[in-house]
Symmetry: none
Subunit: 409 residues, 2 copies
């Protein structure tokens, strides 16, 4: 049952009114795709299979629950999964694919830029797509081709092209009055021609015309290349207008993430992005080293999701056990609040993100412990947080850090 | 989790459509600040520590849950806590500080009145505030000073001044076209001058000018007084426009509360306020005496909150035990529905209101009992009501009293 109309925007507006800066610290540890499904042989999920004495002790003394990032039955992508965790309505704070790719390579996207995700692809002599990913060319080849396309200008509009990975690149259109309300050129299938980019609203005519000119010019330049001879664009988008966590919660927030997309998402809500290594241990050490500089740490662990996507149940179990083993580095800092959760579920048996609600564990001297004596999906069903929208994790963390004053007399 | 868009207003509108007057009776017993946190030595909350055979039997045969008065993580003041319990959205039915003080001394506030909370204070020879509370003068001194300021008139506007307690008083402006949309004169700090009251909207110019003239005249009158020589005003407000419980639920409701603020809140939603004593036993006897005159009783117990605010775990436990011991007086009336809950949590270890969800117990011949075999926070986690907004307590009570007919064919 729900606090009706009690939206993420409501709680953000209350936090804006009630939050106060204080010395207490919050660590939000996100194990990407943590939620799972039972292994057919054992009936236990990845989290239930993993030996996690530290997480279990934290759950026993803390309060647990199950969160829906978007809503029951809805499988979240990484972007809505994280915006919900940061307290923003994932439906209104929609982040376009182009923006996501741009911020994911640490590109400094400006407010008026329009970004699109690009694929290098191959087309036949009739212009029909033969491979949407050009045989997943190497990142080196992508870098070389991107540099050929980078730096065009069409009237006042500059076009910036940056490689991402394999066949993927980002194109950023920087000019006046560019509106991202245009269709995609990627037909999402082979044996058809790329689709001309069209404006969906009259204000987007300039953007559509510029994109068409860029694609036309790119086709001419790539004609002589044998790895890829065409581009497909999708996800035209501009930076969403999101107030920063500092404006909403008076926090000084930092992000510790080894994957660029999560650094990018953190940057969109105003976090400082810290230099860190690629292992969980290095990430946790980064938190310890910079502990005095910030009062909020978003720590992102990618391995759980990667293993889930690969359908590798055992590797997901081992990744969780690795996080548990490294956890004392964070616990020794004695943060006033530590939240352990995920941005969505990625059950290994599904080899994909899923809609299943995400286990949440909140530990604080001021939480009201419940019957959940271990950190697992089945224990979280009985937790005191109940089943709740993931957007409420931030207000709960803020409250337990004693950073919210009373509402009303 | 919620049925979004299913707001307090939605259920009130449904109740307005579906409710029918009947002989069945509802008792809403509010133990103020009932929710707690574990004692560090025992791991048990106040409610879990208290010996409460009657409440436990009621819980075993009833249905339990945990309610959020405002939303997860939000600590409610007494006013939003109670408006939610009465079924009103605590965010839209916000009650100004001036109104709260006025209704809290049983002042009969009229719809067009503007009320402000006043402090008697001291200022130095330069007019700078030296003590915002005038050394917390006695209530007797406050009464004396209030009478000096009472009864001014400025054109058509009458100014009524009533003492509250210590340095606090209420000033009510009664005249035509007074709009409370004005700034406060209280600078909220010392060594600065009181702030001239200003209109925030053009319609409030008359109110602002009248407030300035009152403050000017008050300063002249108080100049010769040595306890306090100035006033500070804040929380200018008018009665919120709230439909009565009678209009919404077709109830004939009565309030039994020994503290004036709760009588005032009850009066705002149209309850009759009954004469009662100051003990729990006297309050319960009042319900018994007037049982045939009403079909809804709001019974308010203050002691639980006071003990929590004082950090007195044991006194909160004893207060709960006292309520439990007196409970047979209410149970012997055999009300069709009795709800036992609080307006918020006040854990003794926090010495303050808190954001933790509030235990709710609903007993009725028509409830579907759950696994909760005692009235405690941990049992309520497993209760059949789940975790839900406190604004849904009224429709649940109405339903269990068979006072709501079917919605739709």
């Amino acid at each position: 049952m729900g606090n009706s109309m009690y939206t993420a925007a409501t709680s953000q507006s209350l936090m804006k009114q009630l939050s106060r800066s204080s010395a207490s610290r919050i660590i939000l540890l996100v194990m990407d795709g943590i939620g799972g499904l039972p292994h057919p042989d054992t009936g236990r999920t990845e989290l239930e299979t993993a030996r996690t004495p530290n997480l279990d002790a934290l759950a026993a003394g803390g309060v647990c629950g199950l969160a829906d990032p978007v809503g029951p039955g809805i499988t979240p992508g990484s972007a809505p999964g994280h915006t919900a965790l940061f307290g923003y309505d994932p439906l209104t704070a929609e982040i376009g694919r182009g923006v996501l790719e741009a911020v994911g390579i640490d590109f400094d996207l400006q407010a008026s830029d329009v970004a699109a995700r690009g694929n290098f692809c191959t087309v036949d002599e009739n212009g029909l797509v033969t491979d949407r990913r050009a045989g997943r060319i190497s990142t080196e080849q992508c870098t070389e081709l991107s540099s050929l396309l980078d730096g065009m200008t069409f009237e006042d509009t500059e076009v910036i092209v940056r490689p991402v990975r394999e066949h993927r690149f980002v194109v950023v259109f920087r000019g006046k009055d560019l509106v991202p309300d245009v269709t995609e050129s990627d037909p999402q299938q082979v044996r058809v021609a790329p689709v001309p980019v069209r404006a969906v609203s009259p204000e987007a005519e300039k953007m559509a015309a510029t994109a068409r000119r860029f694609i036309e010019r790119a086709a001419e330049i790539l004609a002589g290349q044998h790895h890829a001879n065409m581009v497909l664009l999708r996800g035209f988008s501009s930076r969403p207008r999101m107030e920063s966590l500092t404006d909403i919660c008076r926090l000084k927030p930092a992000a510790v993430a080894s994957y660029p997309m999560y650094r990018g998402l953190a940057r969109l809500v105003g976090m400082d992005v810290l230099q860190t290594g690629s292992t969980v241990e290095e990430e946790f050490e980064t938190v310890a080293e910079r502990y005095s500089d910030y009062d909020f740490f978003f720590v992102h662990v990618k391995g759980t999701d990667s293993a889930g996507e690969d359908g590798d149940f055992d590797r997901k179990v081992r990744t969780i056990e690795g996080v548990d083993a490294a956890l004392p580095v964070l616990l020794d800092l004695r943060p006033e609040v530590i939240v352990v959760t995920g941005d969505h579920s990625t059950p290994a048996v599904l080899k994909a993100h899923s809609w299943h609600p995400v286990p949440v564990l909140l530990s604080s001297p001021w939480c009201r412990p419940d019957g959940a004596a271990e950190f697992s999906e089945s224990a979280c069903v009985l937790g005191g947080l109940g089943r709740f929208p993931a957007t409420q994790i931030m207000p709960l963390a803020m409250a337990h850090a004693l950073k919210l004053s009373k509402f009303g007399a």
